[in-house]
Amino acid sequence: MRALVEARGIGMTFRNGDELTEVLKGVDLTLQPGELVALLGASGSGKSTLLSIVGLLLRPTRGTLSIAGQRVEGLSDLERAQFRNRRLGFIFQFHHLLPDFTATENVAFPAAAPAGAISPAMRRRARDLLARVGLADRMDFPATRLSGGQKQRVAIARALMNKPELILADEPTGSLDRVAAEKVLDLMREVNREDKATFLICTHDEHVAARCTRRITLNDGSVDGA
């Protein structure tokens, strides 16, 4: 089976004035379609950095990366944006919903923005997704009227809107209590199983890692036991 993500020798050095911080020192990472992978490591070990590189939000200082068989280093900013829009989904620790839009509109956003408007089909899909994350009774709520856990579930639904092959989640349960976190985790496992979506989840949480299909640990800028 062809790998969904193939990263080879990814290096990332941040420069702040004269000070260089080498965060990633040649990371190799391969994700197969349908995997649910936990990315572990001490705080500051570079988890978010690696996730951003794989999510095409950050360009590595060296290394090669292909996603779904496509080499992505050469893409322009606009092409990377289009790639993110069509093929990737994001879930962050802080949901960042658009506060002036309803739950449904937030979910439909990744489809509506490039299309120019929310079509009835988009609205239907957004509502189906909201029903699926257990928010059937909150579809027309403004984003600001939802609880933290509910917002995070809307964010998951939003990440699924364009049927991405790869979903990148950075501490998705980091700001939720145990019960809410459990729900979000179950949801991600369900999407992984049923939609065959591949997940790369950054987490500190052993409990989360234990329920993934595989774990990768970043240590001193390289991967242990990938």
């Binding site: 944006a81 289009q82 993110r84 829009n85 960042h96």
Partner: protein
């Protein structure tokens, strides 16, 4: 366009703040309209004051001046002085008048004989500028008959109308005889038929009106006249028409603007002051918009970051802010124009105790289209900086903050 939907939501997201911003814009636009209408009204009033009682174009023979004639052998130059003693007159004035009568822009024509003379009453002698005109059209250029304070405006064959100050200086009143001595050295006893008062000292002290028939022998002009005074339907066109008439008749044509160059200067200075105020009111409007949108862009960093992460282009984000600027500008300018018009219309109705307008404001002269376009375009330009900074926001930084 989805950017438009987002822009609208952003504006409605905090209605009171948006309302405040729009009121600020409207207020600036209202100030602009007010000052424009005031300056426009003032110009109209001054122009009216100047043009109401005087000719818009005067036609006279070209003044004869010393001319330098080019000599064939370039070394020498000969100067030919043409006699200035010869009376300047328009002989073919009847054909000129009929030419003028056919011109659609001209509302009144008055052929005149103008000359210098003295009025003699006993020991008292006073210089006067005589204007001799057709008594049937005495009010063609300035409404003399409405300014008569004693007697009447019927000139007849031996009548003269004089100003109130002149009458006072010479101890004259209507019905009394007075001797007129022209610069041709001819004397004639005339009867003061009426005394007028225009309120302008120079006129009331120095001007006398005669019938043109009475004046002919006095100025030795049996057929010719000295000048033709013209009024137009639109005084604004005087300069252009004067040029045309000069070319058509060969006469010197002087527009009222040329005669009142100092008025033009004053109006220019005034409109420059106005431009300064207008510019400042627009700039303050634009700074308001730029700062409000910059604050909004900063407050929404997280959302903008997530939109970017989900593949929305920088152009989309920029459009969201440019469209907000456009909407604020258009709505603010629209409301401001309406308020400005209402304010000026109200001010126009205010009168001083004597019944004249308190402010020479012209609500029609508010420059509405100009201020609407300037504000709208300016508002879009003012949102370029916030739009640009929002568009180039690094999504990662914004999300992780």
């Amino acid at each position: 366009m989805f950017a438009f939907t987002v822009a609208r939501r952003y504006l409605f997201s905090n209605p009171s703040q948006t309302a405040l911003l729009i009121s600020g814009v409207s207020l600036g636009v209202t100030a602009f309209v007010f000052i424009t209408a005031l300056i426009g009204g003032l110009a109209i009033r001054l122009t009216n004051d100047v043009t109401a009682n005087s000719a818009h174009i005067s036609l006279e023979p070209e003044t004869r001046i010393a001319r330098v004639l080019p000599s064939p052998d370039a070394e020498l130059e000969s100067v030919a002085i043409i006699s200035t003693f010869q009376r300047l007159q328009i002989r073919a004035w009847k054909s000129t008048v009929s030419l003028l009568q056919s011109h659609p822009d001209i509302s009144a024509i008055s052929p005149q004989i103008s000359g210098s003379a003295f009025l003699v009453k006993g020991e008292a002698v006073s210089p006067v500028a005589v204007t001799a005109l057709d008594p049937a059209f005495i009010d063609a250029i300035s409404s003399i008959s409405t300014e008569i304070i004693s007697g009447d405006a019927s000139l007849g064959a031996d009548g003269i109308l004089i100003g109130s100050r002149l009458a006072e200086n010479l101890g004259l009143s209507s019905g009394q005889p007075v001797l007129l001595r022209t610069d041709r050295g001819i004397d004639r006893l005339l009867i003061v038929r009426g005394v007028f008062e225009t309120g302008l000292q120079s006129l009331d002290e120095r001007v006398a009106y005669l019938s043109i028939q009475t004046a002919r022998p006095l100025f030795l002009l049996p057929e010719g006249i000295t000048n033709i005074e013209i009024k137009l339907y639109d005084p604004g066109g005087a300069r252009e028409l004067a040029t045309f008439l000069h070319e058509a008749t060969g006469l010197r044509a002087t527009s009222w603007q040329e005669k009142n160059a100092s008025l033009e200067g004053a109006l220019d200075a005034q409109s420059q002051t106005g431009t300064l105020i207008q510019t400042f009111s627009l700039i303050s409007v634009l700074i308001g918009i730029a700062s409000a949108l910059s604050l909004s862009a900063n407050r929404r960093r997280g959302e903008i970051g997530i939109m970017r992460a989900f593949g929305v282009s920088g152009a989309f984000i920029a459009a969201v802010f440019l469209l907000q600027g456009l909407l604020i500008g258009m709505v603010g300018a629209g409301i401001g124009c309406a308020c400005g018009f209402a304010l000026c219309s109200w001010l126009e109705t205010l009168t001083k105790p004597d019944g004249t307008m308190a402010l020479p404001i012209a609500p029609g002269e508010g420059g509405y289209l100009v201020v609407f376009l300037l504000t709208t375009i300016g508002a879009v330009l003012a949102s370029v900086i916030p739009a640009w900074s929002a568009a180039r926001l690094d999504p990662l930084e914004a999300i992780q903050q």
